[in-house]
């Protein structure tokens, strides 16, 4: 009963957010919102640019890449010298080079893969630097999506906006206010927010003295979720009560994660002048999200096989291994699906201990390219790539040059979309193949048997999709996994984003063909089916053999333990 109401509350809240945040974001990017002009203008002056100064897609992409490079360098530098910087009450030393580089890349790419334990590795200064990337990386994702949206909304245009202006507006008008308000709720519920160091307390009742890690955690939480970042302050992320103290903050986390990615479909519809097209993509996202939610909440409501075999057959509260009592089985399942169907990767439960079909769902959400609803920005641009492929297939069926929103989809566009769609599976399967073939890769997993393979597959799937969650048993802080991870992260992020920017540029330059009688409809149920079909066929067929060796064989090995 409680779970039904949890879902109902979520649907109502997200429905309102879709409508109103969606149109607000469109207004922000069209330059119709000005209440923070006094912050914006000095920034533009310092940057030497202005909203009137538009860029071509190549200059836009160049600004994006150079800015990313500078952010990466700065973040890396701070990790390396954190020992000499202030805000380090635990006197933690420099983060080792390979780990620093992996982590800097991971936060830059909106992944937040964490090969380290936060409370024992990062000073408060370093954690604050990570928060900077938690604001900037989702903003970069959103502006990249914006370029593609403008590709459809503009005609005969050689420019697609100004990177610096879009970035600034996204940061100050959208991310900052929502995160700050949500932060107050997190802290009010019990999330820790202090610059004082660890605290030691002696409990007279049991004679135990505890030393408890603390830090500026409460205000990292909302941007971690809102920006679909996922990287927490503490090792066990949203499972720890200091990050996620109550069932209410748990629900709020889920809401924050889904709000921007879903609302961007409205923004898209608004900007291209057809809300129906945005709603069509929204429905496709919901179909996939709902399917994974059904599988996971059912799977996790079943008992844990090892606990059952040990003698406790009746497990009415579901699989509680790795789960927190205050959330329970189904809310944890909902959180997991939310986190892996977006590029978030935060956790409120140990994914490694999910039942086989629960783990399958986590992997599946990422393998379908994270489009349901996907990361902030990246979800929208990835599903638009899928929609372009779907239009192409539809065009082949009826024998007409495919069009989407009046723009002809020709060889160049299809090549770019195909590239963007295939980069992720390619890098995941190659790196997983290498990892299981070499000793350095095989020593990573904690678990034996098919679950060990799943841990490796999960690691590369998560990084290529910029998700950042893990089957946490894997020992990822090794030279092999740190280096392979960096390749995975960068290819998965920029290997998709650059084709998207190029596609946006190519589309913006095109004429609009007026819709005729023979035009293939891209705003109806049939098209939803076609898009979902393309997503499932591309992701499903590519990864099915790998999934069969991992979670599927684990599910089927009744009574066997590894």
């Amino acid at each position: 009963m409680g779970f039904t109401w949890t879902i109902v509350a979520l649907i109502v809240a997200l429905g309102l957010t879709w409508r109103y945040l969606g149109s607000y974001m469109a207004a922000v990017f069209d330059g119709r919102v000005h209440f923070l002009g006094w912050v914006e203008r000095p920034i533009y002056r310092a940057l030497g640019t202005s909203p009137e100064h538009e860029q071509t897609w190549k200059r836009y992409a160049g600004s994006l890449i150079i800015f990313s490079g500078v952010s990466l360098g700065l973040t890396y530098l701070i990790f390396r010298i954190q020992g000499s910087l202030p805000l380090n009450p635990q006197h933690l030393g420099a983060v080792p080079p390979a780990l620093s580089f992996n982590t800097a890349v991971s936060f830059l790419t909106n992944t937040n893969w964490q090969a380290y334990g936060g409370e024992t590795t990062m000073s408060y200064f370093s954690q604050m630097t990570l928060v900077v990337q938690q604001f900037v990386s989702p903003a970069v994702g959103i502006v990249a999506a914006l370029v593609l949206v403008r590709g459809f909304s503009r005609r005969n245009s050689s420019t697609i906006g100004n990177f610096w202006v879009d970035l600034t507006r996204c940061l100050f008008y959208i991310l900052l206010p929502i995160a700050f308000i949500a932060g107050i709720i997190f802290v009010g519920q019990g999330a820790v927010e202090t610059l004082a160091g660890t605290v030691s307390i002696h409990d007279a009742l049991n004679g135990v003295t505890q030393t408890i890690a603390r830090g500026p955690i409460g205000f990292m939480e909302p941007i971690k979720q809102l920006g679909t970042n996922g990287g927490g302050f503490l090792n066990q992320n949203g499972a720890t009560p200091f990050e996620n103290p109550t069932a209410l903050t748990n629900w709020l986390s889920i809401y924050l994660i889904l709000s921007i990615p879903f609302a961007l479909t409205y923004t898209f519809g608004k900007m291209v002048g057809s809300i129906r097209h945005g709603a069509t993509l929204l429905v496709a996202m919901l179909v996939i999200f709902g399917s994974f939610l059904a599988i996971t909440s059912y799977a996790e409501h079943q008992g844990n096989p090892a606990v059952a075999a040990a003698g406790i057959v009746s497990q009415p509260t579901g699989n509680m291994e790795g789960k927190e009592v205050r959330f329970g089985d189904t809310a944890s399942a909902l959180y997991g699906v939310t986190s892996t169907n977006t590029s978030t990767g935060s956790i409120d439960t140990a994914y490694d201990s999910l039942n086989p079909m629960g783990g399958f769902s986590m992997l599946g959400g990422m393998m379908l390219g994270e489009v349901s609803p996907g990361g902030t920005g990246s979800g929208l641009y990835t599903i638009l790539l899928m929609a372009i492929i779907a239009v192409f297939i539809g065009g082949l069926m009826i024998g007409r040059t495919p069009e989407y929103l009046g723009k002809r989809i020709q060889a160049k566009e299809i090549k770019l979309a195909g590239l963007g769609v295939l980069v992720m599976p390619l890098i995941v399967l190659i790196l997983t193949g290498i990892a299981v073939s070499v000793h350095a890769g095989r020593i990573g997993p904690l678990n034996a048997g098919p679950h060990g393979f799943s841990e490796i597959l999960y690691a590369f799937t998560s990084q290529a999709n910029n998700n950042g969650s893990a089957f946490g048993g894997i020992s990822a802080n090794t030279p092999f996994y740190n280096v392979a991870g960096v390749i995975d992260l960068l290819v998965g992020r920029f290997g998709v984003m650059i084709p998207v920017l190029a596609l946006g540029g190519a589309l913006a330059a095109k004429q609009v063909v007026p819709a005729g009688l023979g035009t293939f409809r891209t705003d109806n149920t049939m098209f939803v089916g076609l898009v979902v079909g393309v997503i499932v066929v591309v992701g499903g067929l590519t990864f099915f053999p790998a999934l069969a060796l991992g979670p599927i064989v684990e599910q089927l090995s009744h009574g066997k333990f590894f």
Binding site: G48, F242, I312
Partner: protein
């Protein structure tokens, strides 16, 4: 190229100032001003109500260790570290004792789960030992009492879990089971807003209330 480099550096500095420092300091300011106790970690006289503790080593004269208090869920090493270490030797420091966040996973200061898969032999063996531990204390354990949480220091148990521990606590403290049952009812916290999450009991608060009864 050069102009972009200059802009990137300026933007990186602006972002660091706003989102690294101003955001964190303003947040900490608001938190410390309006929610001081929560922001400091919900610390009470005997510990944080949000961080589970190791109750299994509590001295109970004349009775097994930890039997005169309600125990929380096992952590990565179990509240029964010594028991678990025998089978899960990979990352184990037996002397460390469980439930202390600073020793979970054998790494000083980290929260951690077992990360054992649903068909893990190690998990099967650990669970058997945990069941034996509870049975030896007259408790028929619920699933929560033999599984490790996500954080490794779950501060809560459900009312059902607490009731399962009544035989053990009643025997060691001499308090009537009916009185303990009433105590559990009184300490149970409902679902958030009436529908979010599960009913739960904070083990620290339950034991503080229990101490007052004795």
């Amino acid at each position: 190229m050069l102009i972009n480099l200059r802009r990137s550096i300026v933007m990186a500095v602006i972002a660091m100032a706003f989102f690294g420092f101003i955001y964190a300091f303003a947040g900490t300011g608001v938190a410390q001003l309006f929610f001081k106790s929560q922001a400091d970690g919900s610390i009470t006289a005997n510990g944080s109500t949000l961080i589970g503790q190791n109750w299994s080593a509590t001295k109970c004269p004349g009775h097994p260790l930890g039997s005169c208090v309600f125990q929380g869920r096992p952590d990565d090493l179990g509240p029964y570290a010594a028991v678990i270490c025998a089978s899960n030797a990979k990352n184990c420091t037996p002397s460390s004792g469980g439930d202390n966040p600073l020793v979970a996973n054998g790494v000083n200061g980290e929260s951690a789960a077992t990360n054992l898969g649903p068909r893990s032999k190690v998990l099967l063996a650990d669970t058997k030992e945990l069941i034996a531990y509870w049975n030896a204390r007259g408790v028929n354990p619920t699933p929560d009492l033999v599984t490790t949480s996500g954080s490794g220091y779950d501060p809560d148990i459900t009312p059902v879990d607490a009731r399962a521990e009544i035989p053990m606590v009643a025997k060691a403290t001499g308090i009537a089971p009916a009185t303990l049952d009433k105590l559990i009812t009184r300490e149970t916290q409902g679902e958030e807003l009436g529908f979010l999450g599960s009913n739960y009991i904070d083990v620290l608060q339950l034991n503080e209330a229990l101490a007052k009864l004795r």
